[in-house]
Every structure is written in structure tokens, then in C-alpha cells.
Amino acid sequence: MDQEKLIVSKIKKGIVIDHIPAGKALKVLKILGITGYTDYRLAIVMNVPSNKLGMKDIIKIENKILDKRELELISLVAPTATINIIEDYKVVEKYKVKLPRVIKGVLRCPNPMCITNKPDEVAETIFVLRKLDPVVLECKYCGTLIKGDEIEHNLSIQ
């Protein structure tokens, strides 16, 4: 974290998303719905050295709380990410994001003939985690597998 301190100061309250794979920070902001027009005060640090990852990105967001769905989304784009919860300038909680075994509604199935893509139906997508490293997800309805960049490309929030 030394290098980071050189660039941005500590936040009083909010979250620090650390260990984001290098280059994915903007994608993480996007799936959190944070654009230049939202009120959050935030800092993005990209392409800094990391012992674990070689290179990593970091995001600090003031006064932000993550809900379950946002954590699932982050785990799909940045499975190595750690979340630090900051209160009064101190880290009060720290945990790694964890891919859930079953992911509901967050992804689209890339198979155009999957029932979840049929207009007029109410089928919420359900993906089951098949492999962790690299991540492979299987559509519970049609069996289609998605992995790697396909996961990002099929997020229902783009």
C-alpha cells in the first residue's frame, strides 16, 4: 500500500476495493453504476505493483456501502478483489469477494435459444459455478458454459 499512499490520501468512511486485476477498475465502477455524474467522492489507482497479482488496481469510494448483488457483480469481474470497510480512517472489516455457488439474475445466457432469452417469459437466469480457476459458469436451464471474458460480456449491467 506504500505506493498508493503517495498518490491518494485516506478516506474517513467508505470502502476500499483492493487487489482488482490490473485494468479492471473502470469495469468495476461501471457495474457499480458509478459514473462521472454520481455524487461519490472517489479515487482510482491503476496499474500499481502488487505482491500477489504483479499489477493491480485499487478503488476508494467515500460513503459507499456494498450490497449482496454488488458484491456478486464485483466477484465476477474481479474475483481476486478484497473489500476494506473504512470507518473513522480505520479498516474495521476486511474480506475477499467470493464467487457464489449459484448466481441469479446478474448474467445473461449467451445462447440465443435459451428460454431465459425468450421475449415475454419471466425466466430469471441461474448460473451454477462449475470451476473456480479459471472460473467456469453453467446456465442451469440450457447447460451453456461461460468463462473468462465471456462472463464480463454477459453481465446484465453493461
Partner: protein, 307 residues
Amino acid sequence: MSLRNRDLISILDLSRNEIEELFRKADQMNKFLQEKKTLNTLSGKIISLVFLEPSTRTMYSFQSATYRLGGKTLVFASKTTTSLAKGENIADTIRMMSAYSDLIVIRSPYDGTALYASMISSVPVINAGDGKHEHPTQALIDLYTIYKLKGRIDGLTIGVLGDLKYARTIASLLYGLSLFSPRKVYLISPGNLTLRESVRAKIDDLGLEYEEVRDIRQVIGELDILYVTRIQRERYPDPEEYERVKNAFKITEKLLENAKPGLKILHPLPKLDEIDKSIDNTDYAAYFYQASLGIPLRMALLASILG
């Protein structure tokens, strides 16, 4: 475990023991049929046949099996004559049919429809083919046919030839075979009709012993069973791609000169030109026998779920 009130969405919903129990029950049903006995196992029961895609054998054999067991059917068969033509969605159709009947048999061009229907329905759902995904009752008939012809499935060498990419019967058959211990399964197809990645990953996980070959002549002498499927024209997004592959393979008498004695050829039907018509009258042809087993097997299944 009993099949009572259970759904059948994938053949992997069943264990080997449950499949073998269905075979024993199908044998009994066959015996009743031969003795022209009337059964009343499904007396007072109504089966909905929701067929959103054309079908001959599957729909009529479910209907026949229901009648043979003393039950009645509601047929919701065509988009043009039902409220689906008015824009009603599958979900509402299933809600309605599950209120009208004791079990729903569904076929649809969309992958995953059967699971979707089972999540909505208050009565058991049987998958009669959902897109290119699965067709578990056909796979049960295929396995039952092999079992009847050879007395076993374990230890056999089985060739699966044809459109491995889009044929739902192939996916279900391979999953079903993985519950047994065949000596080897040869997956025979031209390069562009090979298994979809999702099916390959699943049979890898299930530990099925298989090898992929391009040309049937390489393995014809080893096979106990040859399972042939047609090119699934209706699943090709691009008609030109279909034109390129439609004549990619054909079983001829000349090819069978090198076959292992006792080889039996299966086909889920309808067949087009994949098998030369001259083979229909030979001892190799087991596909019409296979189709005839659809009735006792589906009777056994319906009786197990609702009996």
C-alpha cells in the same frame, strides 16, 4: 428412491438403479401389451401434452402410453390452434395446464424450457425435448433397446454417429451411458458436427470413456451398437451451413461388410438419407424395434410417476 411425483428434466435426474427399475417395469408393460390386458393404473388421471414443436413418435407414443394405462390426455399441440398464437407466454400456459391435469409432458424449441416449466408447474413435468438441450425419454428408450438387444450395456462398444452438435438425443444418450460402464463410446462425426463444448465438459466430468473419430470406417469392425442421427436441419442458424453438411455421412451395405457380427443399428427417427433404405430389411436394423419400445418404456415412466 421412488419416482413418484418427480420431474424428469434431464436423464441425470435418474440413477442407474432407477433406470434399471424402469427397464423391469417396461418389460412388465410389454408383457401386458402382448397379452392385450387393460390396465387402469392412470384411471382418472389427465396428462397434458404441450408440444410447441412438431413431433410424431414422441407425442403419439405418450398419448398411446397414457391410453394403455387407462388415462386421458389434453393435447396442446400447435401454435396455430392454441392461445400461444394469440401471444400467450409459456409460463401462463404451464400454469393453466398444471391446473387442468396431473402431469405435463412438454416439448419446445427453446433450450431449458422443461426446467422453466417445472419451476412454474404444480404437477410433475416430463421433458419431451427442449431445443438442442436434452431428450431424456428418448435416451431411456435408446438404453432400453440396447439392453433388450444385448442383455447389458456394460462392456459394449458403442458408436454414436451424426450431428453430435445439435442432436439433443445424443446429449441425453451420452449422459445416460455415463451411468453405465460401456467399454468405449466412439463419437463419430465430420469435424464441423462435433459435440458442443458444454456436452463434452459434462461427459468429461461424468468420466465417460470415449474417443472422437472422423470416419466410421476406422471403427466399424469394433462396434456392438451403432447409433445414427440425422442432421438437425431445424437447429441450423445458417441454411448454407446445413447445405454444406447435409450429406456428410451415409451408412451403406458396403460399409457394413466390415461390421462386427451382431452389430445393431439404432436411430431415434425420423431418418432421412443417413441410412441406405436397403439396410431397413437386414438384421442390422434395430430402429423400428427401438421405436416400438417407446410405448412400454413411457408407460413404465408414467406409471412410476403417477401410479
